[in-house]
Amino acid sequence: MNLRRARDAAIIPGLAIVLALVFGSLIVIFSSPLIFGLDLTLPLVAYKALVEGSFGSFGAVISTIVNAAPLILAGLAVGVAFKAGLFNIGAQGQFLTGGLAAAAVGAWLAHAPGPVAIPLALVAAILVGSVYGAIPGFLKAYTGAHEVVTTIMLNYIALYIVAYVVTGPLRAVGATFARTPDVGNASLPILVGGNGHLGVLFAFVAIPLAWWLLYRSTIGFEIRTVGAGPDAARYAGMRPRLLIVVTMAFCGGLAGLAGAGEILGLTGFMPAGYSTNVGFDGITVALLGQAHPIGIMFAGILLGAMRAGAPLMQIEAGVPAQMVDVLQGAILFFLTAEILVRYLFRIRAKSAKVAELQTVASSYGGQATPTQ
């Protein structure tokens, strides 16, 4: 019974991935003359390298998991918000500010003992990410400013905050480029392979936690009720405004934790031009995983595999790693154009609609606010 439900839930995302790969190979073929003449087999070479780079060896698998961890956390940051009817495009900003906080506290406690420095740096990242997530939640709940636009604006502002802090007050003395000082003892221990750091575990702990929170706790029930209908939730004695702020803070904390994992586990400092796509990839992960923690885990591993395999694809096929971004956008497109997928594969429409996604406010401006 459960297996069948899982299969039904996975069929459309699975086919969307297949169609996206077809679309991606068309792009690769038609853009191949730009580099070295038309090459019809290039997509096969590229995809083979992509798989090899992500699952071909022990190191590749570790790399996939390490890449998947922040994507899963960011995916949860978007997906849990979905359940409350919120579209959190701000995971990017929450990730960056959280990472910055981890870098700052880590640098400050670089010489303190690890068991003290690591938890403090993590807590700082979660707190700062939460606050950065709570801001658009607050604006949504109390002024009606739509979170889609405010979170995007906060993403840009986060970039400037990072640029200011890293080139200004926190700039490491003597570094050849603008960056924060090393986090030293606050760096996360490597558990397995070359870079399988402790932060990877956070993601896999967060999955059951988010599941329990959403489906087994009172607040999760309230979150889902608010997502289904803020007015009904208020009638039932819940406080939709407060729940929106709390949910966004929780999601921001998850994204902040993802940022901390990257800084404390991989780079060891925050460079001024820290470029990442984790926050936006989180949107793909959440939608592909149908906003369910288990689905998000699989989607995160899939996209993590793509990220891990991309460098090898670039080396062996000459296809730029950005191809992965193109594939992600295409996956999203085919997911949304479910009708097209059903038509192409002759799948009869069932009631297996992604109900949660229908609760995402379809408009913005004044009307989407829950009235007090």
Binding site: I27, H146, L154, Y156, Y160, D325, A330, T336, L340, A361
Partner: protein, 354 residues
Amino acid sequence: MDFILHVPVIGLLLQFIGYLVGVMTTNGSLIITLSTPIALGALCGFMNERSGVVNIGIEGMMLFAAFVGWYVAALVNGGAPTSPGPLGITFPLLVGLLAAIVAGVAVSALHAWLSITVRANQIISGTIINIEALAITGYLNLLISQNPIPSAGNFQSFHVPQGVASVPVLGWLLTTFLGHGPITLTMLVLVIVLQILLFRSRWGLRTRAAGEHPRAAETLGIDVIRLRYRNVLLGGVLAGLAGAWFTLEYIGTFQGGMTNGRGFIALAALIFGRWTPIGAFGAALVFGIADALGQAVSFNPPSGDLGAVLSGVPEQVFSALPYLVTIIVLAGVVGRSIPPAADGQPYEREAKAT
């Protein structure tokens, strides 16, 4: 930071207002230039949302159009020197402009299909467009940059003759409003034309009806689905123009992600301007001022106390200003703005009785 406390705040505020007015008058032309993509993007949003389709994919449409326009113009040009006509118009640039518009319409068609026919969540549809536009343009631009081709240049601003420009007031008005390239000039015309059409034409009435109460509109014989399709596609023309502004008028070359959130700011301008073309243009000017202020402070800083204080403010604050203004505007500090009633709701015809 101590010295700030010793400066009289009121005097400083007055100095700042004086400086701001100075920036607005001496940089009037720059402000209108910088507000062009925001105004055009807002007009695109206007076309969509007045007929009931939410479009947060404007950013992606602009970026894609900017890329296509630039690349097609460069391909047509082929690196050959050309003799530009008035306003720097050349054949390759015109073809590029056309290509940008086609690109804008093509992406709009995708959005229209997803949000009108498929009845997908329109916010998600817009998000997909933003993600995919950023990805594809970044990917192709990277490939192209391995064998770079020279750009086709860009449109030039109209030069108000020296004699007229030196006339007080009139000269300032003419240089501020007419001293622009063709896309900005088109934008100024479109703002007025669309404002009149919205409230004075049959199309405007029908569009408003479809956005406020589609079922009632359909009862009166308006084909809501068709009207929405047409408006979203026309909005694509405007997004295409906005994109072309980046690569064919303002900068003259393409950089990944160069629209930098202007498409989202355009949405805020639309809300701020209460879903009218003139209002959206006025709001776009506010963002233009926020943009120009940053440039003015770095290139032409004020003197005296104000200069001392402003030089202590990190440059990033000014860069972040348009985004901050957007949030403040959306938070309704300037008053509540009410969207069209059916905005974002897919329209479903009632089943025919059989």
